[in-house]
């Protein structure tokens, strides 16, 4: 039976191969020509070259924005970027020169910090549940599916949600901005942490159990530490993503010209909000600050992204 199947499969493959050859060699094989006539026709060679050229063209086109963004943000940002820009807040008019985005930088730091403090432990624990407890039961499948769905929810909608759920009652503020960022970060952390926890070898867990450790002890003292570099990578990427978010903050933190440390009851600025305002206003001084702010933000985001890459490449457990 098996042999028969094998033979018929071989036959099928041969037939398919012949059909393909006929097409590739421009029909010459079918008429019983010799093997040397099987060399590619001119049209096939030409098509191959054309498509190679198209692929290279696509790479070239994609590299243009990379180079342009890096170069222009640096070149335009560096002219306004100085000590004053880093250490002072916005002037009250876009027309005035000088001043900087310290209010935005502090706002971003506070809100991303708060969001991390909430979403990292919750996200990691949820991932622990998925890998160590839920595994393939219906609840774990449901959580997995909906955290995937949540990574695709538009960030502006998260902002709208926090607006309707919190801001209407308590007003704009850093806490509300942080809540929206936490909701954006959490599913990213859950999914990336889950992937990393799956990679922890069973031998390690078995050894821990053999020493008499309980399951929670194994998780806290063996599984999480050995997956730590991978988890850090996911967390860093989530932080970078949160630091670059603008839309949810418009609806929750609103933005402000002043440096403030109050967590609620008063709108707070963020780097991204300050850049957005600068990009929308018609005055040269405001635009110049926006470019410098963009450089500042780009550096922050890229540092987090790069650290994430370095950490994962140093990890002992890898794919």
């Amino acid at each position: 039976m098996e042999v028969q199947q094998g033979v018929s499969e071989t036959l099928e493959t041969t037939c398919a191969a012949t059909r393909v050859e006929e097409r590739w060699a421009g029909g010459r094989v079918g008429r019983g020509a010799s093997l040397k006539d099987c060399r590619p026709t001119r049209r096939r060679i030409w098509r191959n070259r054309r498509n190679t050229a198209l692929v290279v063209l696509a790479v070239g086109l994609t590299m243009i924005p990379v180079v342009m963004i890096l170069y222009q943000i640096t070149a335009k940002g560096i002219t306004t970027m100085d000590w004053e820009f880093l250490t002072s807040s916005m002037p009250f008019s876009f027309r005035r020169e000088g001043g900087g985005f310290l209010n935005g930088l502090v706002g971003t730091a506070i809100m991303v910090g708060l969001a991390s403090a909430v979403s990292i432990p919750l996200g990691v624990l949820a991932a622990v549940y998925l890998v160590e407890y839920g595994k393939k039961n219906w609840l774990a499948k449901l959580i997995r599916f909906f955290s995937d769905v949540m990574t695709g929810v538009p960030s502006v909608f998260v902002g709208l949600f926090v607006y309707t759920a919190l801001v209407i009652q308590f007003g704009f503020g850093a806490l509300m901005g942080a809540a929206s960022l936490a909701i954006i970060m959490m599913p990213i952390i859950v999914r990336s942490t889950e992937e990393m926890l799956k990679l922890v070898p069973n031998e390690l867990k078995d050894a821990s159990y053999a020493l008499g450790a309980a399951k929670w002890q194994t998780i806290v003292k063996v599984i999480l530490p050995s997956a730590a570099p991978g988890i850090t990578t996911g967390v860093m990427l989530a932080v970078a993503r949160a630091a670059g978010e603008t839309a949810p903050l418009i609806l929750t933190a609103l933005g402000s010209y002043q440096l403030t440390g109050k967590l609620w009851g008063e709108p707070m600025s963020a780097l991204t909000l300050a850049i957005f305002d600068g990009a929308r206003n018609p005055f040269a001084a405001g635009q110049a600050r926006a470019w410098a702010g963009a450089l500042e933000l780009l550096i922050i985001v890229l540092v987090f992204t790069m650290v994430a890459r370095v950490v994962v490449s140093r990890s002992r457990i890898s794919r």
Binding site: N48, M63, P187, G244, T272, F276
Partner: protein, 308 residues
């Protein structure tokens, strides 16, 4: 081993407590998502009620008269995303094929890094760059060109503006290319070497090998990647808000200014009050439904591909 580990009973109780706590964290995600839908829909309900079906079928948007028809914004979202896909999918396929099939080893790293870097750039920076650099350099001339030479087609009718559906579509294309590229790349890398060798052994040129061994295997993955890119494009806010031209009129021509759903929320929110805010939340709900459908479809496709 610390002596405290050996105490019996304590470990057992702690174990189930830990399990319950971890489970609660997982359930929290479901609760937040559910509350998201309830809270926003609840807020928008009065407007849904007063506008009825015309909320999505009418393009009459005048908050001062209490008329909220968001068809123009839905159209704007769909047309900008379509433009983005038309540009980004071929580019992404090209780049991912280059990275998996063509690239010499020396180039693989730098090109891969560059694409990842593009994915890490925040959308407000794309917006800033788009408005001050890309607009005068490329978007405005390209829109003028389209209107001048293809203006007889209603789709490209002038007078052309760089701040338009077209401009927003181009910037979206730049933003989703890295997403589609990295997913396609993963898919192409799963094609077994034996398949490639078999195609070469039959005398295939490199392109024929790709056409007949690589692409068919990755079809589901490519479609899934495209839909994830689409999901991202639909919800993208800030860059689009800066480049789409901010007109509430529905215009069939892609070189004319318009609005997308996410952009109108971001731009009008700060000066909106009362029913206007509720209507903006309602637009958010429609946008959410649209992206959820697209994303679920994409996940289903990618999952099917991973299992096969």
């Amino acid at each position: 081993m610390p002596s405290s580990w050996r105490r019996r009973g304590v470990g057992r109780k702690a174990d189930s407590l830990f399990a319950i706590f971890a489970g609660l964290c997982g359930v929290l995600i479901l609760l937040v998502l559910a509350y998201m839908v309830i809270s926003t829909t609840g807020t928008a309900l009065p407007v849904f009620g007063s506008q009825g079906i015309s909320f999505i079928t009418s393009s009459e948007w005048s908050p001062s008269k209490g008329q909220f028809g968001s068809l123009a914004f839905i159209y704007g979202t769909l047309i900008t995303s379509a433009i983005a896909l038309v540009i980004a999918v071929p580019l992404s396929l090209g780049v991912s094929l280059f990275l998996t099939e063509y690239s010499p080893k020396r180039l693989k790293g730098p090109v891969g890094y560059a694409v990842d870097l593009l994915a890490a750039v925040p959308s407000v920076i794309y917006g800033l760059w788009g408005v001050f650099i890309l607009l005068p350099l490329f978007l405005q001339p390209a829109a003028d060109f389209l209107a001048k030479y293809l203006g007889f087609i209603p789709m490209f009718k002038g007078p052309a503006s760089g701040l338009s559906y077209f401009g927003a579509g181009v910037i979206l294309a730049v933003m989703i290319t890295p997403i589609i590229t990295s997913l396609c790349r993963e898919v192409f890398e799963t094609v077994p070497g034996a398949d490639r060798h078999a195609a070469y052994a039959l005398g295939a040129t490199k392109w024929e090998m790709i056409r007949q061994a690589v692409l068919p295997r990755g079809r589901a993955g490519i479609v899934g990647a495209t839909m994830l890119g689409l999901g991202r494009a639909l919800g993208e806010t800030i860059a689009v808000a800066l480049l789409i031209g901010s007109s509430v009129r529905l215009d069939a021509s892609i070189v004319r200014p318009g609005y997308s759903m996410a952009a109108v929320i971001a731009n009008q929110f700060q000066e909106a009050t009362g029913d206007h805010i509720r209507a903006l939340v309602g637009i958010g709900v429609v946008l959410f439904a649209l992206t959820i459908i697209i994303n679920m479809g994409a996940r289903a496709l990618v999952w099917r591909f991973n299992r096969a």
